[in-house]
Point group: C2
Chain length 311, copies 2
C-alpha cells in the first residue's frame, strides 16, 4: 500500500493542506492563500506546486502518494465536477481532471461539508460507523450524509443541506436561501441569537441576557446558570432541531448524528435540549440513534479529503 495521501480543503480565504500516512495520522498541515482572481484559475496550480514542494522537502516520491482528496465549497457532483463555486470564482471545472493533469496521482473531490462529514466518520466523532449524518451548527447550519461509508451528493449536490429543511410554517422573515421557516433560522448561532431577542421582547422576566451582548454562547452560558429565559429559548431551539433531525432520521436512518460547529462547543447541554424532542418526533425504530460531538474541528475537511483516498 502507498504510504501517504494529501487532504486539501479549499476555502474562500485559505486552502488547508494536510499530509497523512496510510494509517490516517495527520503528519503535518499547512495553509496557503486562496488566489481567487481570474475566476480562481490559480487555485489548483498553487495547490499542485505546494504539494510538489512538500513531497521534495519530505523526501517522498510521487510513487509513495496514494492520491489527493479535495473538498471545495458549493455543489460538487460524484465525478468531482463543479458547475459553480461562487466563493472561488469557479465555473464548470472538473477538480480531479485539472489537478490530476498537474500532478500525476489519483484525485477525488467532494463538497466541503460532505467531505468534513467523511472526515468525522474516518477519524473523528463518527469513527466505527458507516452511516452517519454530520450536522454543523455554525453561522449557518450545514450537513453531510455518509451512506455505507460513501458521501451522499444527490442529484444536484444538495443532499444533506439540512439547514434548509422547512420547519416552521409561521415565519415571515426570509432565510438567506429566499424562503422562510428554514431550520437554520432557529438553530444556527445567528438563529439562536435571533430567537433570544424575540423571546426577550415578549417576556418580562429578569434575565442575565438583558445586559451585555446576546450570542449563542451567552444563551448557553446563561442556561448553564439556570437562567429561566435562556432555558426557554434553548427549549425552542431543541424543539426545532430535535424535530428536524427526526425528519432526517426517517429518511436516511443513520447510526449516529455527529454534531459540530461553534454551537456544539456548548457541550453536552446541547443534547439535553435536543434529545427530548428528537425522541418525541422520531419514528420508533430510529429513536435510539446515537448523538456524538465532532472531534476534528477545522481539520475535519483535510481529514475527510485524505479519507476519500485512504479509507
Amino acid at each position: 500500500m502507498k504510504e501517504y495521501a494529501f487532504g486539501v480543503d479549499i476555502g474562500g480565504t485559505t486552502v488547508k493542506i494536510g499530509l497523512f500516512n496510510s494509517k490516517g495520522d495527520l503528519l503535518d498541515k499547512w495553509e496557503i492563500t486562496t488566489r481567487k482572481e481570474n475566476e480562481g484559475q490559480q487555485i489548483l496550480p498553487d495547490v499542485a506546486s505546494f504539494i510538489q514542494a512538500k513531497i521534495a522537502e519530505k523526501k517522498v516520491t510521487l510513487e509513495d502518494v496514494a492520491g489527493i482528496g479535495v473538498g471545495a465549497p458549493g455543489p460538487v457532483d460524484g465525478d468531482g465536477n463543479v458547475e459553480l463555486a461562487v466563493n472561488l470564482g469557479w465555473k464548470n471545472l472538473n477538480i480531479p481532471k485539472v489537478l490530476g493533469e498537474l500532478i500525476h496521482v489519483p484525485v477525488k473531490a467532494g463538497n466541503d461539508a460532505n467531505v468534513a462529514a467523511l472526515g468525522e466518520m474516518w477519524q473523528g466523532g463518527g469513527k466505527g460507523h458507516k452511516n452517519l449524518v454530520a450536522v454543523t451548527l455554525g453561522t449557518g447550519v450545514g450537513g453531510g450524509i455518509i451512506i455505507n461509508g460513501e458521501i451522499l451528493s444527490g442529484a444536484t449536490g444538495s443532499a444533506g443541506e439540512i439547514g434548509h429543511l422547512h420547519i416552521e410554517d409561521n415565519e415571515e422573515i426570509k432565510c438567506n436561501c429566499g424562503r422562510a421557516g428554514c431550520l437554520e433560522q432557529y438553530t444556527s448561532a445567528t438563529g439562536i441569537a435571533r430567537l433570544a431577542k424575540s423571546f426577550l421582547e415578549k417576556d418580562t422576566r429578569d434575565s442575565v441576557l438583558r445586559t451585555g451582548n446576546i450570542s449563542a454562547k451567552s444563551v448557553f452560558d446563561a442556561a448553564k446558570n439556570k437562567d429561566a429565559v435562556a432555558i426557554d429559548i434553548l427549549d425552542k431551539f431543541g424543539f426545532y432541531l430535535g424535530k428536524g433531525l427526526a425528519s432526517v432520521a426517517v429518511v436516511v436512518d443513520p447510526e449516529v448524528f455527529v454534531m459540530g460547529g461553534g454551537v456544539s462547543k456548548a457541550g453536552d447541554i446541547l443534547f439535553d435540549f435536543i434529545k427530548p424532542y428528537y425522541e418525541k418526533y422520531a419514528f420508533s425504530p430510529c429513536a435510539n440513534v446515537k448523538f456524538t460531538t465532532a472531534m476534528l474541528g477545522n481539520d475535519a475537511g483535510i481529514y475527510g479529503a485524505a479519507g476519500m483516498i485512504l479509507k
Copy 2:
C-alpha cells in the same frame, strides 16, 4: 451472461414469483399461498420447490439462472437479515442463507417497499434514473429510496419510511405508529378520507361528498368535477405531501419522485395539488425535481427483486 432470474415478492397472503430474462422482460408470473404456520418455516422451502418445478417445466437448467431476488415485509438489512417480520412469523432469519441452501444460486433480499422502488427504477416510472424516491400512497404511505442504483436500507432498515415523517404539530389523533402528526395521517387513502370528513363537518357548503361513501377516490372524482369542498380537501392533502416531499428532497436530493399506490390512480390531478406546495417549500436547487407515476403496479415487487440480481 446467465439467461434468467427469479423475482420473489413475499406478502402476508400470497407469494408472487416472476421469471425474467436478462433483458428484464417478465416472461411468466405466478402466485402461491404464504404458509405462515410454525413461524413461517415453510415459506422459503415452498418458494424453493416452486422455482425448482418451474425450472424443470421451462426446460431451463440451474446454470442458466443468475439468481433469485426476494422482497419481504418488514426491515431487512443490507445482508438480507430479517430480525422480525410480524406478518410472516419470521424471527432472526437470513433469507439469502436459507434460500441459497435450498436452491444453489445467488440470493439477494430486501424490504418489499425498497425492492419495489428498485423495480420502478429498473423497468418502471423511474427508468433511466439512479437516484429516486418511490412514494406509495395506499392504505398507508410507504417509501423506498434508491441511491446510485442501490437500495438505501438504513441502520435499522427504516430508511425511506416517509409515511412517518412528522408533519403536523397540532394533531391529537394517534397514527398507527403511536405518535401523532405523521404524513400518512393526511396523505394515505385513509388519511384523505379522514381529512374529508373533518372538512365536511366544519364547512357548510354544498358538496357531492355529502351523499354517498367518502373515499380518496370519491374526493378526487369530486375535485375533477370542480366540487369546491373537494378541492379544498385536496389542497390540504397537497400542502402536507408537498411539504413532506420537500423535506425528503433536501435530505437525499433525488432526480425523481415516483408516485405509486391506489391514490396515484387519480392521475395527473395529483401533481396539480402537490407541486405548488413542493415548489414553495423545497430548497431551490431541488425545486426542479421530476415527478412521475409508478408503472409496474403490483408487479413492482417481483421486478425489483429480479432487478437486485440483473440490473
